[in-house]
């Protein structure tokens, strides 16, 4: 932490974050046009999860329907909270969410 501060990094919080569950979901729709960066940021901002992998498949180009696979790590028992946030964001952006049947342990 000292080294980080010496380099000018402002540390807001430090500690171990234990993610014990993960969920893989698919998003379908105009993912790029609906601002993929904003979608990913807002999923992480829900407070219960961290995106560990994102893959985009847009065979028809960025301005057509595409698919994205998101791997979301969550704290124990928080997968449902994260999924609720994903659903709300997807509904707002007219994206379809393909959810897993159950969460997985990491």
């Amino acid at each position: 932490m000292t080294a980080l501060r010496d380099e000018g990094v402002n540390i807001i919080q430090a500690g171990a974050e234990q993610y014990t569950e993960q969920a893989v979901i698919l998003l379908i729709g105009h993912i790029v046009e609906s601002d993929l960066s904003d979608t990913l940021e807002r999923i992480e901002e829900c407070g219960a999860s961290s995106l560990t992998d994102v893959s985009l498949n847009a065979p028809e180009g960025n301005d057509d329907v595409s698919s994205a696979r998101l791997r979301i790590a969550t704290r124990a028992g928080k997968t449902a909270t994260a999924m609720t946030a994903v659903r709300e964001i997807a509904t707002e952006k007219n994206l379809q969410v393909i959810e897993p049947l159950t969460e997985e342990m990491i």
């Binding site: 329907v65 698919s67 696979r69």
Partner: protein, 323 residues
Amino acid sequence: MTESKRLAVLGAGAVGSAVVELAASYGYTVTGYADSTSAVTNPQGIDTTAVTAHKNTTGRVGNADPSTLFETEYDVLIEATPTTLGDAEPGFTHVRRALEHDCHVVLANKGPIAERYSEIMTLVDTSMGSLRFEATVGGAIPVMGTIEDIGPPTVTAVRGVLNGTANFILSRMAAEGIDYEHVLAEAQDLGVAEADPSFDVDGTDAALKCVIVANVLAGGTNEYTLTDAVVDGITDIPGSALELAAEDGRTIRLIAEASPEGVRVGPRLVPQNTALAVSGTQNIVQIETKHAGQLNLSGRGAGGSETASAVLADVGRLPSLSK
């Protein structure tokens, strides 16, 4: 030993005609057979071979009015007319007439039991006849009989792949990298999908089956109809989504879920090479129980003789009528 029962078969589609053809091999006599425009009856039993030939030639099962079916002597009404939504007519009236005459009813038609469950059960309560509906869920797979044997209060949830057409389309899209429209056309050529496939691909058919299961699990504490189900179909799933799923060892299946608390149908991610990732037109049902863990039942979820086998198994489970 199979007790001889007299069957009146209403509906001459794939299921009704298969019931008529197979009834004798189960020890049953068909005394009436009707389609939407005609009927044939004989208290001693109709000549099923001749009637089938007549239907194949003329498109009608007989020359009498369809309503004469209810005037013949029968013990069990087999209701195999097409499923209708909303008021579930004319299937509901057919069921009511048979139960009011203290006859048994075996349903292959999902409409009456999915859309008017409590009304049907009230009719059953005041009739000497019984009602069974194994064939409405999962074709040849004994879903309802298994739930009945386990005891509905000890079943916590039922989920599975309950529509062969949707599963065929998703399987082919994933295996061949073909888009939805092309696979649908192929399915229609093969007879796996109907000319209007909306009932299957929009999730309605699977939802109706789960509504039936949910009503049984709820045991009268809640009543569900199709409008209570959360339903999403497969028509908007692009091949790109299936490719991403496959890269991660998963696939997409139209999963139907029923519990005492409700019904949900929609495309879901499932791991490849697991029980729920059945291929082609196969169906699978997972039953979660309080005391027996998880049971997996798979098999053919549709087809004339397959569904007829469920109908005829139901006939065998009916008690004797003492009129």
